[in-house]
Each structure stands twice: as C-alpha cells, then as structure tokens.
C-alpha cells in the first residue's frame, strides 16, 4: 500500500487538475449551448402551432387532415429508385405534430454555436474521463470507493451516454443544455462538498462485484437521468401542445423554446425507450448487489436502507412501465411516475448516503 506512494499522490493531483479543467471546458460548452438557444430564438418556426391550429374547428379536424400526411419514401442514394412507399398513420387520439428543428431553430449562427458546444462537450468529456482514469490509477482500483469518485464517474457516464446518442445520429442535441448544466452542478458538488482524498478501500469493498455492481449502478443512474430530462421536457412540451390545441396562446418565450423541441410524443417515446432499455440492467444491478451482499454480509437481502431504496426505485420504474401500457395512465401521469422514480434514484444516491446510516456507508460519505 505504501509502495510508490509519491507517484500515486502525483496521479491523484493530476486527476484533480483534470477534473477542474473539465469543469472549465464544460462551462465554455454551457455558454455555447446558451448561445445556440439565443441565436435560435431569432427564427420564427412555428411547426407545432401550424400543425395544431391549422383548422380552427378543433383538434379532430386537424387530425383528419394530418393523419395520412406523413409519407416515408424509401428511396435513397443518387439514383431515383422507387420502392413502395410506406404510409404511416398516427394512432387516433395522438396529436400529429412534427418535431421541432432543435435549439438552433434553423438559424445558421445558432447551429454553429450548437456545433461548437458539442465539440467542447466532447473535449470536456475526454478531459473528465482522463481525470477519472488518473484517479483510478492513483488508487489502483475502480474509482468508485466514495461519493466523490462516484460523482465524477456518474457525470462522465451521463455525458458519455449523451455523446453516444449523438454519435448514433439520434436527434438529441436538445439534451445538451439541461445536461451540461446539471453536470456542472454535479461536479461542483463533488469537488467542494464530497471531495475525499484518494485512498484504499475498506475490506468490505474488496470484491470483483464492486466492478459489476457499482459500474452498472452508475451507468443506470446516468441513463435514468437522461430519461428524466426527456420526461421533464415532454411535460412542458405536452402542456404547450395542449394549450395550442385547445386554442390558447402560449407566451412568447414558451413559444420560442417549445417550437424548437421535438414533438411531445417524440420526447415521451425517447424517455420511454431510454428508461425501458436500462430497466433490465437496473434489475441486474440490484441482483448483483444482492449476490455481493450474500458474500459480504451473510444475507442476500436484508432491507438495508440502500437496498430498500433500490427496491423502491425499481418498483417505481416498474410502475412507470406498466402505466405506459395502461389506459388512463398513459402520457402525463406515466411521466410523473417516471419523475418520481428518478427522484427515488436520486434519494438513493445522495439522500441515503447523507441522511441515513446503513451498510453502504464507507469512507466518509
């Protein structure tokens, strides 16, 4: 343990420098996203409004005209190839609203700033990931031994998920601003309140299950977080759309922001997919934790506060998935459940560590 202590402390301080640098670059990215939104506000796109208020006689009429209108051509490439077209018909009752153009709102300068923001995010993410790696090397173990390490890894993974979605050509740049804002908060909290000098682990954490259980827990949290951002935006966009559909006139700011977001149904679907995709992994995380608990504490389930809250989180997300398939619960109600579920996750992450003492208390916090 004492061997090469000097280099280890060196690495730890390098890690700290990298984390601070990452915060600086994230801040720049944050301003670039702001700029994107600001420049984007010059554009006067009103697709949602157009789709929902085209026919003053009401929603039903609007739907009838809109229903068969989405036509997908499967032609591609250079030559004009004509395969049969697939006509997609929206389900009855659903608003047929096109997705917004994104934060830049079609504005060229806005788009430029958006691209700059994404590039800066990539840079900051790389620096942060290097910081996490240096931390791991300095302690020669997985960097998940205390809440500081947990936090920096968490935000790295959350941004990583966002960048991966972008790399997969998913239209998720709208996530940028809310995500980076909270990543900055998360890192600020980590370096001030939660900071713990790099150190070895207590014996209870000496297990390969640390790699399995904690890494999946962090990953699930990051993905749930991305899903929760989508859910919140869905709730805003949905009320915006229903206001329009019922003939109301939202304020200028709301119009400017909301028109640039994807349609409520797209946001809803996005967060559903994200949450549903990671739910089995969350199940696995809990079970892996139970197996580890069986090895470390002599019982695989003992209603320790952390266990209890993972269970509550699990039940809440299960409730969300069921609500999505239940008439009368779809839409906003299900979205609220998703937010409650994420709140449970957050409480499990911060609240249980700080306010409740249990078997998951290690190394300070």
């Amino acid at each position: 343990m004492t061997l090469a202590a000097a280099t280890n402390e060196n690495l730890a301080s390098i890690s700290n420098t990298l984390i601070y640098s990452a915060m600086a670059v994230y801040t720049l990215a944050f301003f670039a996203y702001i700029a994107e939104w600001l420049f984007g506000s010059r554009s006067k796109v009103g697709r949602t409004a157009a789709a929902l208020t085209a026919d003053p006689s009401g929603k039903d009429a609007a739907k009838k005209t809109a229903a068969p209108s989405v036509t997908v051509k499967s032609a591609g490439g250079t030559s004009v190839l004509e395969r049969p077209k697939v006509v997609v018909r929206a389900a009855a009752g659903a608003r047929d609203v096109p997705d917004g153009p994104g934060a830049h709102g079609g504005d060229e300068q806005g788009d430029l700033y958006g691209r700059i923001a994404v590039s800066l995010t990539v840079l900051a993410w790389a620096v942060e990931a290097a910081g996490v790696l240096a931390r791991a090397l300095s302690v020669q173990r997985a960097p998940w031994g205390n809440m500081y390490e947990f936090n920096i890894t968490f935000s790295t993974v959350a941004v990583g998920v966002y960048l991966a979605l972008l790399a997969l050509k998913k239209d998720v740049r709208w996530l940028g601003l809310p995500l980076i804002t909270t990543v900055l908060l998360d890192l600020g909290l980590a370096v001030t309140v939660l900071y713990t000098a790099s150190d070895q682990l207590v014996p209870a954490l000496h297990s390969y299950w640390l790699y399995i259980h904690v890494s999946t827990a962090i990953f699930c949290g990051a993905v749930f977080y991305v899903g929760a951002v989508g859910t919140i935006l869905y709730l805003f966009k949905d009320s915006y759309e229903s206001k329009l559909a019922s003939g109301g006139r939202p304020g200028r700011f709301a119009t400017s922001v909301m028109e640039r977001l994807p349609a409520a149904s797209s946001l809803d679907k996005f967060s559903y997919r994200v949450n549903a995709a990671v739910f089995p992994l969350w199940t696995f995380t809990i079970i892996a934790g139970a197996i580890w608990a069986g090895d470390a504490w002599g019982r695989y389930w003992g209603w320790d506060p952390k266990e209890t809250w993972s269970f509550i989180t699990w039940v809440a997300y299960a409730g969300y998935l069921h609500a999505r398939a239940t008439a009368g619960w779809k839409g906003r109600k299900a979205a609220y459940i998703a937010l409650v579920a994420f709140a449970c996750w957050l409480f499990n992450y911060y609240g249980v560590n700080i306010f409740v003492s249990g078997k998951h208390s290690y190394a300070g916090v």
Partner: protein, 573 residues
Amino acid sequence: MTTTDSGKRDDSELDVVGSRLSTAPQEDTLNVPQLGVIGWARWFWRQLTSMRVALLLLFMLSLAAIPGSLIPQSGQDETRVADFMKRHDTLGPVYEKLGLFHVYSSVWFSAIYILLFVSLIGCIVPRTWQFVGQLRGRPPGAPKRLTRMPAYATWRTDATPEQVREVALKALKRRRFRAHVAGDAVAAEKGYLRETGNLAFHLALIVMLIAFAWGQLYKSEGNKLIVEGDGFSNVLPQYDDFKSGNLFSADDLNPFSFDLKNFRGTYETTGPNKGTPRIFEASVDYAVGADGKAKTTRIEVNKPLEIDDSKVYLVSHGYAPVITVKDGRGKVVFEDAVPLLPLDANVTSTGAIKVMDGYRDGKGKWDQLGIQAFFLPTYGGKDSAVVSQFPALLNPRLNLTPYHGDLRVNAGLPQSVYQLDKSKLKAFRDDKGAQVRENLEIGESMTLPNGAGTVTFDGVKEWAGFQVTQQPGSGWALAGAIAAILGLAGSLFIQRRRVWVRAVAGPDGVTVVEMAGLGRSESAKVPQELGDLAGVIHDEAPTAPDPDPDVDPDPDPDPDSEPPVVTAEGAEK
C-alpha cells in the same frame, strides 16, 4: 389524452385485429356490478387483477417500504430500536403498535405484497392460457381495410396474385415470421418471445418471492467468537447466539468444524483515513462431517467459507489478552486468553476476567475473583485520552481493576461474560484505602493486596467473530432472478408485430398488392420492417407500368436504402 368518438370508431377495426397481439388484460371501466355475492366476487376479482389496481399496489408497496429505511428496524439493529424507544416516549409505543420497527414483516406490508402477488397470479394465469392458445392457433387473417393500419404500402404489379402471395409467404418465412395464406392475403406474425419473456418475468417474480419466504422459514443464523488457536463445531450448544426461522430444526445444521489458526488485520497507517481497515483475514483449518479430513483455507470479508448450504462469514474481530492468575498460595488458577469487546473503531476494548474455581486468598480462604479489564491496542501516552489511538497492536496497554467476592455466576441468571455483576463483589483496596487498579504492559504483573495473588499480562491473541448462516432457497432465488432479467429483456426489447400482404386482381386485370404492418405501441421498426419486406416482395413483383407519371417502375430497388424511422402507435389497449 382523450379519445374522441370518431377516434374510437376509427380504431374499432384496429381493436379487432390487434386484440390478440398482446394478452394484456382489457381495462374495464369501473362498472358497478349486479347485486349478488357472485357478482360482487367477480367484480372484486376483476378489479384486483386489473392493471390499474396492480399499479396502485405497486405504488403502495414502494410507499410502504419507505418507513423501514428511515426508522430503525429490529431485524437489523436491536439496540437502535431500544434507543429510539427510550428517546421517544409517545412516538415509540405508537410505532411499536403500527409495526414500524419491523416494517417488512408487518401485517400491512405483507398484505400489500400478498395482494400484489395474488393480482399478479390472477393476471398471469389467464394470459398464459391465452398465449398458449395463440401459439397453437395461426396469425389472424387480414382486416378488410389495410389502409387503416399504422403502416401501409401498396403498388400494382403484373405478377398474378398467387405469385405475389407465394413470394410474400416465402419472404416472411425467411424472416422467421409465422405466416400462412388466409383467403386473398398472407397473414404473418413475429415476436412471440415478447409475451414469453413477459410471462417468464412475472413467473420468475413469484419464484423469487416463494424462495425468499422459504429461506425466511428455514434459515438459521448463529454467531461464534473464536480466539486464535480455538475451534468450533457446528452444533447448537456451541453458538454464542443463534436465530432461526420458524420451521428450522437443529438437525438441519450441516456437520462441520473448524479451528481458527490466525487472524490478520491491517489498517491504513497514514492520511485522513488513518485507522481504516484494509485487510481482514482468518486462516482456518476445517473439516466436513464428523471425521472429515482437515483442510486449510482463508476466510475474508467478502469470501465466506461455504460448506454444503452453510456459509461461514468473518464478521468481527478483537483482542484477547492472555492472562495468568496465581492465587494466595502461588498456584496458577487461571491461564487463558480473555476475549474483550471492541468499543470503538480503534478497538478500545473492555471485558471481564472471572476466576470462579480453585482460588484461595492470602489467608487460604476460598474466594472468587473478578477483574474488570480495559484494553488499548495502541496507548497514546500519558497526555492522551484513555482510548486507543490506532486499531493495531502498536503499544498495547491493559488496565485491570480487580474485585473479589461472589461473582453470582451460580445465581441462575444468565450473565454476560464481558461484564461483572458487582452486587456481591468487593474492590481490592491499598493501604491508603484507594481502589487498586493498574496499567500493565505485556509481560508485567500486578500484585493483589494482602497476598491475594498476582495477575500477569502474558500477551495478546486476536479473536474473530464468525457468523454461520444457512439460507435454503437462495439457489432458487438466484435462478428466479436470472430468469426475471432474461424475461424482462425479452419483453422490453422484442417487438411483437403482424404483417399482412394482400394481393387481388384489380378491375383492369393488374394485381394490386397491399401490405400493412401492426405492432404494439412504441414501435418504430414496424414501418421500417414493412418497407424492407415491401422491397423484397417488390423485387419479385415489380411495379407495373402505370398511367400515373409519378410512379417510376424500377425492378431493382436499392437494398441499402433505409427508410427514416417513423413511429406508429399500434392498437395497444
């Protein structure tokens, strides 16, 4: 989201063909039933097994689990419960009545999860039968108006309807659809694993619950403190304390024994986490069965020793000073390692040495000796507080306060080995009348006044606390858990969908091909897949020349072209 009347009408056909795409229960509105017991029972059952009530129960379950994480639980920490009771005079008894100190075995918590599981079973069983019926049947035939489906494609071709159907059937079967020709159309369906996974997941939950309950009934859990050099064999009287489930019997204990050879603990020596444990390991020799061969192994914090379905965990450790007591005649009456209980993270320890038999005082009279012991593995010197400064044995110091008289061990009351009952004991006093107490280093002795003998601190051994648990059913719980994850993945990642391909000769003799796809909601891939399928069929049955100038017949569509992802809400109810 509200559905207008016309929307409902539009959907009625979707309902018919989509009805069996999932076996999800139909949501009834809250109809007040006809009078009569059976009517009410049926109504109650239908409510209980409805998704809405299941949701409600899920909610209640998570809400009900919360207090257990905030209020001390007797199952985890008895002392904190007692402490809570002491501090809250009014709240304590109320909590006690409500079962808030044992939430997870309380009546109301049990009621919720039992109702939830009854609801689950009531939901799963009919769904399973329905699904078996679907598997034995064939995909339903094409609806009249395919244009009403969420994804739709059509073209005209010179191929005959029979040819088109044959091509479609082949293409669908190659893509592993269950497909058959029904009337003028091919009906196909795929993704049955979704429902299988769904049912498997819920079934696995039931298996896990039963395994957990089984484990609770038959489990046993005992603790044993062993000093280095001593041994243990797994029979009931050997345990220091023992808890078991209601249906456990002592015969269920696995026969084995082990000796603790050596315990090793290392601690962080520098930095802010100084004193934090780093390594705990116990070297043991163990033997399985009554006269099995001894094997050597190491038990660590995360690595219990597993023998049959028993697991031996290393749960605690401490120090046991080796003490020799000579009586008034100079005869050795006590020579043993005395385990002391740690009081803090730096293993400041306390305990008692009890010399019950064979002791005579300075005058040769029979007596009993009780010595209160206080031990610091690392004494910080005169200026520091009288607590250990570090958990390892850096500068051990043993503080002894001797008493003599009646230890009351024969009074019939259970007595802690770590505490003296001082009611019939007298302190030793020196010439000035002050109570005798002394700090000893290893190797030092203290002499008792009036020739009452000597007490020598010979050395320190370490002791380790072991927990031996038997929890039957954990294998089943694990199997259930794995099945649950697999089922969940199947039910969330696999899309169940139907495709119909209708080919009929139009009035002008040209065949009209119509294709439609229907999936459950959230399906982005249904139109995409339908596009791909249409491409494949279109290769074999290309678009016929059409008077419409827009349509450009092309017998060789680009196979790489990917239609943009378009979402479609299915007829999911």
